[in-house]
């Protein structure tokens, strides 16, 4: 059975990690750990877990005063931090909810404890939201058991306790709705740190640190994973027989395959439902199957399938090696193998695909092994999960179908590209507002590899600081044509000064290639700001060949690091553009 759990780091390992020297010229990552208790080993574990994930950065964690969670957040020197990690425990809401204070647990005290906890929650929430306007915030709600101050037996939930939990839950909902606040998932914490093994009474009373080591380690691990979210995978390629459904299509026939409880094949129904959920969230889903294509076509006519064929693209069925199908799917999607998961029930097929594409994550579909199936769904949710679903996510599959049509045109197999683009009824919307909460723009800068000016990434704090600079601008580009909308697909960050623009970041989604949107973006800048020159902080990377090719078509190679394109150079080489332009927001840069 594949295990997807998290191994807790030991304290001795954490100390070894934080004693490693930093790489030369490492950029700082400064986190503030706000808690009301002595941060002690939590600070050690968090530093180590962050250093493991931010290996090229100088991780520095500062902390505040003992017993003053809200004050620590309110006094946070925002300009000197890149992130806030706020750890709330019951005693921060009212000292009587902890065990270091002897303020009274009489029945008559309980309503006042609840009331003061609610007021403190409101104060902490306000302070966190204020910080979140400038910094990313990662927050955990109380993780320790409540002390036995309620009068019901421990097996019975007390009304006061439920009110407390209700108040904390409501606060968590409110916090998590903020685009720059991420709440630690209590369910995942429960799985790796059992509730009964969290509180260290001796340590809390004698040193002011309430966590057992394993709990501190688990908390730090989850926080570090929140801070340094792995880039979500983009696509899932699935097998059909004994994976998407139970049974062998070629042997059992279209009516013989199943995914229902009464046929004891319900796991396959759950898997279909899960894939439909992923597809609805913008994950690309495709099929690679050794099968008769005509029969597969018939199977997908079944109306009781929980994922329709419109959500699976392409469906590649034939009798050749699966790696051939995977290769075709990757080409159609235009995504790298390391952004893809392949699921199949056959270890042999998985091995064949893995050998051809070592970067693909290959997962076995564990038919009839219920615990392993549950682990598979958890793993898939983790690798595809993202903090928010954007409009572009829902457009992704349609835009790939459109891109496929476009490639057909630009390959010379259809009408010429000029003629195709002229007929495409393309519209480009340029947005020049500096919205720090524009998650899509931030995400594009941090995940785009191919059309990327220099491969540079931005932390959330650096993104906010860049936009706070009054001399900077943020330009985003949305695109649509008669084949569908692509949503927001390009981002430029730079400065305009004295008839010239300096571009520090420029990325464009690979879904938008071959539409001359990059030309349109520069033409708009030249025309709108009457620029004579645009300077680019260009740097070749191993993966930004589309950018290199674009520049090479305008200026002579070799391309210098500080690239300049004059108005004359650009308009001499700019191909015909057929887009209509809309400016979506007033210029405020």
């Amino acid at each position: 059975m594949q295990q997807f759990g998290t191994d807790a780091m030991k304290l001795i390992e954490a100390l070894a990690v934080i004693q490693r020297p930093f790489p030369e010229h490492a950029a700082p990552f400064r986190a503030f750990l706000a808690c009301g208790f002595t941060p002690l080993h939590l600070q050690t574990f968090l530093t180590a877990a962050l250093r493991e994930r931010l290996a090229m950065m100088r991780v520095e964690i500062s902390t505040g005063l003992f017993g003053d969670l809200p004050g620590n957040i309110e006094r946070l020197p925002i300009a000197e931090c890149d992130a806030l990690v706020a750890v709330m425990e019951w005693q921060d809401l009212d000292p009587r909810l902890g065990i270091r204070n002897l303020g009274g647990w009489r029945v008559a005290d309980l309503p006042d404890i609840i009331h003061s906890a609610e007021r403190m929650l409101a104060r902490v929430e306000k302070a966190i939201c204020h910080v979140a306007n400038s910094l990313p915030v990662y927050v955990s709600l109380p993780t320790l058991p409540l002390p036995p101050l309620f009068t019901t037996p421990g097996r019975q939930a007390s009304l006061h306790e439920l009110r407390l939990r209700q108040a904390v839950g409501a606060s968590a909902v409110s916090l998590a709705a903020h685009p720059r606040i991420r709440a630690l998932n209590a369910q995942r914490l429960d799985e790796i740190s059992p509730a009964c093994s969290r509180l260290d009474v001796q340590s809390e009373l004698l040193s002011g640190f309430p966590y057992q080591l394993n709990h501190a380690s688990a908390m730090a691990e989850l926080f570090a994973a929140l801070v340094r979210d792995a880039t979500p995978k983009k696509g899932l390629i699935t097998d059909l027989d004994d994976t998407l459904w139970a049974g062998i299509l070629g042997e059992d026939g279209v009516d013989g395959i199943s995914w229902h409880l009464d046929r004891q094949s319900h796991l396959h129904g759950l898997y279909q439902q899960f894939l439909a959920s992923l597809a609805s969230a913008g994950v690309l889903t495709a099929v690679a199957s050794k099968n008769d294509p005509a029969l597969v076509e018939q199977a997908f006519e079944r109306e009781d399938l929980l994922i329709g064929k419109q959500s699976l693209y392409p469906i590649d069925a034939h009798w050749g090696p699966k790696s051939e199908s995977v290769r075709r799917v990757l080409k159609t999607w235009n995504v790298a193998p390391d952004a893809v998961v392949f699921v199949d029930d056959s270890p042999m097929e998985l091995a064949e695909v893995q050998a051809a594409f070592p970067e693909i994550e290959c997962l076995v579909f564990p038919k009839n092994d219920y615990p392993s199936f549950w682990q598979l769904l958890r793993r898939l949710r983790d690798v595809f999960g993202k903090s928010a679903i954007s409009e572009e996510d829902s457009l992704r599959l349609d835009s790939i179908r459109a891109a496929h049509t476009l490639r057909y045109a630009s390959n010379g197999e259809g009408p010429s590209l000029d003629s195709f683009l002229r007929d495409a009824q393309a519209a480009v919307a340029v947005n020049f507002g500096k919205d720090k909460n524009d998650r899509r723009a931030f995400e594009l800068i941090n995940k785009t590899n191919q059309f990327n000016l220099n491969g540079k990434r931005l932390t959330e704090a650096a993104w906010a600081a860049y936009l706070d600079d009054p001399g900077s601008f943020l330009m985003t580009v949305n695109y649509e044509d008669k084949y569908g909308a692509l949503g927001k697909i390009a981002v430029l960050l730079g400065r305009i000064d004295d008839g010239a623009a300096a571009i520090d970041y420029w990325v464009m989604s690979c879904r938008a290639f071959s539409r001359r949107i990059e030309h349109h973006s520069l033409r708009w800048l030249f025309d709108n700001f009457h620029l004579q020159e645009i300077r680019f902080e260009y740097r070749p990377t191993g993966r930004n060949k589309p950018v290199q090719d674009f520049f090479a078509n305008i200026v002579s190679a070799p391309l210098p690091a500080n690239l300049r394109i004059t108005r004359m150079e650009f308009f001499e080489k700019c191909p015909p553009l057929f887009h209509n332009t809309k400016v979506k927001a007033a210029v405020n840069g």
Binding site: K10, I12, L15, Q19, H41, Q202, S203, L213
Partner: protein, 80 residues
Amino acid sequence: MDNFEERLVHCFSSVFPGLSEGQIRDASVDSLPEWNSLAAVTLVALIQEEFGVQVSLADLPNLVSFSAVQNYVRHNHVAS
């Protein structure tokens, strides 16, 4: 140096990374300015983790040197 002693030295070197093995053996609260309350609490946590020995924080005032810690852990350590 037996395995037990080696593990204890490793615990000490995690808390006091600049010290040689010889300096660790001679270490005491009086001779080592870095041996403050934070270091002491960290050392106790490491010993609990490494040896499974529950160190009472009330015993901390007695654990003032490497040899004192060594004796304490040997005495309370059941299985390595």
